[in-house]
Every structure is written in structure tokens, then in C-alpha cells.
């Protein structure tokens, strides 16, 4: 089973169990709309890939950790799309939750998804209480104060915000949680896995800035030009488009280099490369790339050639 299929299956099953019986139907539908809308599931896939590299001896816990990450991500999207922030009508080519259901239900759907993330972990972790508790700490760190994605989003409301700090929190924090969760769910130390998440998360945010300038609404599934419109910190504005693309390439290389030596290193390298191409397709960015900035995101020569295939 591919990681994507495993992630989708886990999401379906955990969502149903956690929602339980008798919830307000429209709230549940709004939450489903937010979660099952063709997301790339990169955070759950990262979590599962790292778990595989760490032995994945508690796959049910890995699945729950992966689902919890995605639910937190979806909650943040629902709230970020609301009129108080981006006022976005469209997400992944479909109406946003507040457009499809109403603002009150979007507000509550986000809240419900945050709680559901913990519920999903709790319903799968009884056999590994220590791992479960560490997973919940790790998840909270990626979302809450002082430097999770909620804090990251809040840097947009400060008069002085450091671009790198903003990006590290806004997107990077949950990517770090994702790689760490894969290790923790498998009973391993998470520290060696944090840099992969950090570099990939930062790359993701830079890519978002690039696509906000370069992308077309069809491939992005949401309106372009939002950063300028909402006066948000943006790499593309700070560094120019060429600079931002070079920065993205460098981050992808650093992400690849940061993968610890492990049995499934090639699979992880492949995942990073695929994600890089999905985020900033060569066809889109070629004219802005200098020839010297070629991506070789692997550590050892043997792995490098495997990754290049």
C-alpha cells in the first residue's frame, strides 16, 4: 500500500470513530468537507515514511499520529480561509468551509478538528502510554504556543516579525512534528528527525510564496496574489522570484542531506524529491533557475545516484 493510500484509509477510519454517534450533522459535514478534499497528505506521509525507517513496530499508533497531524493542518486551513484572515472563497478547487457551510460552522469545525486530533491519538495509544504522551507533547508543540502553527499565523498580526521565524512557525513547526511523530510512534528518539521536517517545512512555505506569485489558480486550487493583497511576509517579495527559487532549491537539498542514515533512506529521499517537484514544478520555474542550483539532495554517493533516478 502506498503511503498516500495508507494515510487516506487511516483518515477515513479514525475520523468516523472519533466523530462518534449523534454529533450535529452539519458540523460533522463541515469537518468532513475540510478533511476529505483531495489534500496532498504530505504531513501524514512524512510521519509514516519516518516510522517505516524507524521499524514501525506500532503501525496503529503511527496511523493515529499521522491522522492527528493532518487534522491539525486542516483545522488551520479552515480558520485561515475565514474572512478574518484570507477571506478565501476557494480551496483545492472547492468552496472553503465558511463558504459551503457558514462562518459559525467553519469556526466550530476548526475547533472540533483540533480536539479530534487529540481524540484520534487517545483512541489508539492505550497500549503505549509513554509514546502516546510524547506524541501529544510533540503535536502540541507543533500547533500551540510558543512556536507552533497558531503562533506562526499570529506573527502576521505583529508589527515586527522576523520572516524566518514566521515561516519556521507557520509551516515548519508542523513538519517537524510530522517527522518527529514517525520516530516517536516507533519508540525512537525524535531529535535526529527534526531537521528533515524543519528544512522541508521551510521549503514548503517558500514554495507557497513562489506559487502565490507564479502559480495559476487551476494548479494551486486557490487564488494567487494573496500575500501582496494581505500584506503578508513573503520570501518572493523579500528575495525576488529568482532568489526565492534558489532558496527553495537549497532547502530541498538541506532536507535531503538531513535524512539520517537508516534502512529506508532511499524512500525518504524519493519522497522529498517528489514533494519538491509537486511544490515548484520544473516546468513552472525553469526560466528562473540558475544552472548552478541543481538539486542533489542526498548524503552518500550511492544514495545520491539512487535518488537521481
Amino acid at each position: 500500500m502506498s503511503l498516500l493510500k495508507r494515510a487516506e484509509a487511516a483518515l477515513q477510519s479514525h475520523f468516523q470513530t472519533a466523530a462518534g454517534v449523534g454529533a450535529p450533522p452539519r458540523l460533522q459535514a463541515a469537518m468532513q468537507h475540510a478533511v476529505f478534499s483531495g489534500g496532498a497528505r504530505i504531513r501524514p506521509q512524512l510521519c509514516m515514511a519516518v516510522a517505516t525507517a524507524c521499524g514501525d513496530d506500532a503501525p496503529e499508533l503511527t496511523n493515529a499520529a499521522a491522522v492527528a497531524l493532518e487534522l491539525m493542518h486542516c483545522a488551520s486551513l479552515v480558520h485561515d480561509d475565514m474572512p478574518a484572515f484570507d477571506n478565501a472563497d476557494v480551496r483545492r478547487g472547492r468552496p472553503t468551509v465558511h463558504k459551503a457551510f457558514s462562518e459559525p460552522l467553519a469556526l466550530l469545525a476548526g475547533d472540533g478538528l483540533i480536539v479530534m486530533a487529540y481524540q484520534v491519538l487517545l483512541q489508539s495509544g492505550r497500549q503505549h502510554p509513554e509514546r502516546l504522551i510524547t506524541l501529544m507533547e510533540n503535536l502540541s508543540r507543533g500547533v500551540g504556543l510558543p512556536s507552533g502553527i497558531v503562533a506562526g499565523q499570529a506573527w502576521e498580526c505583529e508589527t515586527a516579525a522576523d520572516l524566518a521565524q514566521y515561516q519556521r512557525s507557520k509551516t515548519g513547526a508542523l513538519f517537524v512534528s510530522a517527522t518527529c511523530a514517525g520516530a516517536i510512534a516507533s519508540g525512537r528518539a525524535c531529535e535526529p528527525w527534526a531537521p528533515l521536517g524543519a528544512f522541508l517545512g521551510e521549503a514548503y512555505q517558500v514554495a507557497d510564496d513562489i506559487r502565490d506569485v507564479l502559480g495559476d489558480i487551476a494548479s494551486l486550487g486557490k487564488p494567487v496574489g494573496q500575500d501582496t493583497l494581505n500584506d503578508r511576509p513573503s520570501s518572493a517579495q523579500a528575495m525576488g522570484l529568482e532568489g526565492a527559487i534558489a532558496h527553495f532549491d537549497a532547502l530541498i537539498k538541506q532536507a535531503g542531506d538531513a535524512i539520517p542514515d537508516c534502512t529506508h533512506r532511499d524512500m525518504l529521499v524519493q519522497l522529498v524529491l517528489l514533494e519538491s517537484e509537486r511544490l515548484v514544478p520544473k516546468s513552472m520555474s525553469e526560466g528562473y533557475r540558475k544552472p548552478s542550483a541543481a538539486v542533489v539532495p542526498a548524503k552518500a554517493p550511492a544514495t545520491r545516484s539512487a535518488a537521481a533516478r
Copy 2:
């Protein structure tokens, strides 16, 4: 130390620790505004009172559980006050969070407080992992799907909602979590303590409906007449004012009767009576009460006379 003082001290200390270092200053200020604003702290006090009755052998865990409940309650107030719901300018006599800080920060403050509730539990529960996990399940049940306070609030967005179900979820669920948390933190079964929370929670919601009709803005700290204005289900509208007050009195009696036999039963009875008077003061409701509806909220004759003092 009174329960209220214990609750306030625990809130101060846990909030600081969970917020950590380096959070966006305005977000942290918005969260502080939401939490430290003269709330009655009834949920933490209930939790602590039940813990005392259950031996309170892990007081740090009790404190964390009490704080987590209050943070969830404050999060719900911040989001409920927003323009998408009540559009309230004032809460407890002060500007609401979105008025004092902005809508984006109110949205994020609520999200941050939900996560912080779990962070607070996690930072105090390592010594009692089983209790910690049960406390987090209990807290999630009181807030999330299918019938926590988020679901309760969402029943306002359904075309058909049962008034009792709405009230049980909207307010009752977190009161049940509060009494249960006190028992769980002390290593006891929570089931015997659920009815006290359920009756008190329902009474609280009925009182809110009554005060929405009878109250003045000074004593309530928020505008009156909101239920009619927002077309919300309300006991006062469904039963008339006299009927709602009689229902409130009956619920307070049931709450008193539901307190299990235990060492500190008198203290709990006293807490229920004080809360009853705070919620619907006799001076406010006297003209609407029938003489037969006298409140005798205790089980055994000895306790009854103690409670009546």
C-alpha cells in the same frame, strides 16, 4: 486556601509555563485577556472540590486538570463572542477579545487556548500516565464531537435541535468533565460524579437563559436579550420565566441530591448552593418563584440542615 484562590494561582502558574518563551506578544496578550478577566472559575472549583472529596492525592494533577477545563471554557467564550456568533462587544464588563485585539487574534487565541489546555495537562501528568490519559479523554469528551461544548454550540446551526440535548452539550458537557476530572485526578472512578456535573451544567444553562431575560447588563457583564436577538433555543422562551425558574430550582435540588456520600459532602453542597445564588439571585427571581419550589438540595437529614445554614 479557598478553592477560588487555588484555581487562580494554578491558572497563573500553568499559563506562564505553557506559553513558554518567544510567543507572538499580541497573541499571548489576547489569550491572557481571555483568561484573566474575573471569571467565576466554577469549573476549576468543581474539579478541585470533587478531588478533595476523593482524597486529592495528586494535587498538582488536580490543578492542571482544573486549569485545562477553564482554558477550554475561555476558548469557547472567545469564539462565541465573535461576530460570526454573538457579535458581543462586552464580556465580564470588559471589551471582548476581538474588540480589544482584532478578529484574527481572537480566532487564534481560541485555538491557542484549546491546545494550551492539553499542554497544561501534559506538563503535569508524567508521574501518573494512566490518570493523565484518562483526563485527556475526559476533557476531549467535554469539548469535541459528538457531544462536547463545540457540538453544543453547533446545534445552534441546525434547523432541528432538541433543547435538552443542546443544553446538555453546550454547557453540561464541560461541567460533567469538571466533576469527573476531580475524581480521575485522584485516581477514582468518575462515573459516580457525572450526574452532579450534568445537573449543575444544565442548571447553569437555564440560569443563563433566565438572566438573559431578567438580568441587567451590570450584574451579567454582557448584553441581555441575546437569545431572542440571535434566535437561540432558550428555556425562558420554551417554558416561560416562571417555568424556567422552577426548572432551575429543580435542577439545583437534583445536583445536590446527586453528590455521592463522601467525606467532604457538606463542602460540595455548599458550593452548589452558593453557585445557585450567584446564578439566579433570590433578590432577582423572588417574584417569579412559587413557595412550593423551595430548594433543599441534600440527601440525608443531617446534611440537609447543614446545607440550609
